[in-house]
Amino acid sequence: MTARKGQHSADAPDMKAPVTVELNHGRIIVLEGKNSKGEPRLYRYEIRRIRLEDWDRYFRAVVNQTRNVDGERQQIFENDTARLDLVERVVTCVDGYGDFDAVKIPEWRNSLPLNHRLGVGAALCSVGAQEQDDDAPLSEFTEVKLDALWSAGVEGKMQLIRGLVHRFKQPSIEQLKRWNYESARVRVRGTAKDGVTIYPSRPAVAMLMYDELIVSVDGYTVNGSPLANVDVINSEMDGCHKAEAVMALFGGTDAVTIR
């Protein structure tokens, strides 16, 4: 592989078009940085499609612990390592770093600047739920709307796509119980003085529960066609979007509170 020079402009994220997320294509992430002379420069990353197993590995690699050291409680949340691992596995091509021969630098992914890889990782995980509309009429289904930074368009601008709809069945009490149980299934060791609590990966659990609850989605396509039924949704939906939607359905990150 030979790197290409970046010729793209990435100002603020584009708030207008497009209106759909095309799931079967790779993604383009464009970063703006500075070269050694301090001049602005664009860096373009081509990303292959991120599969459900990639997301599962990412979610489980995020470290979420509390540790007691001499009675002092320390919260440890670390996702940089997981993001670097994700980017390393999914980036297929880069632009903007001058010409280099990938054959001569087989580990070129590791040579990319650390802050750029972390920036790309952050962009790949950039999805959030909109606030639930309390005035919405009662319905058989619960709608969750997501906003996501997905991919750079033809102009090279990152696109923020708003209002991606996920319609869920009402969770049964058994499903709600399972969600709470899985979220509370911590691993502990040690005592109060030196105790460690390792929290489970809620997104990984959420991603699995998505398939049981989803009914329909809007705003996504596969090869230009909307996702017509539950089987297609389950197999094609992006794992990070699945996890975020289910966490919003079950009340975000506040379902289990810690003092």
């Binding site: 509390t66 509370a184 911590v186 289990v256």
Partner: protein, 122 residues
């Protein structure tokens, strides 16, 4: 989840709730900047890792759900956890009998109620 740790967590959780009622009144009159420090001094320290309390919260929620939906299925960890929680609650109630006047729990040896301040005859 280790049974002993969970049992200790349940005991500490119940004591914390008991102490919090008094602490709350003092904290209300404490300067906001000093509240966290005051809270730490007023409440008994926890002696088990945080995770035990997370699981305990799940058990408390589950216990409440069971009152409404009795048929819900439980796994072994949940059944055992609820039994530990109930045992701890029974122990707390034995060692903190209610005030005959206002019903608030007090220590066994208390001569007057910490809530209504009325005399408790033993």
């Amino acid at each position: 989840m280790d049974r002993d740790l969970l049992e200790r967590a349940a005991g500490e959780f119940l004591i914390e709730g008991y102490e919090y009622r008094t602490a709350e009144k003092i904290l209300r009159d404490t300067h906001p900047d000093d509240r966290e420090e005051a809270r730490e001094k007023l409440l008994s320290p926890r002696t088990v890792p945080d995770g035990c309390f997370v699981f305990l919260q799940h058990l408390i929620w589950l216990e409440q759900v069971l009152e409404v939906v009795p048929g819900i299925s439980l796994n072994a960890a949940e059944v055992e956890g609820i039994l530990i929680l109930r045992r701890s609650r029974n122990h707390f109630q034995r060692t903190h009998p209610p005030c005959p006047h206002c019903g608030m729990p007090n220590e066994e040896h208390a001569l007057c109620c910490r809530e209504c301040m009325k005399e408790i005859s033993r």
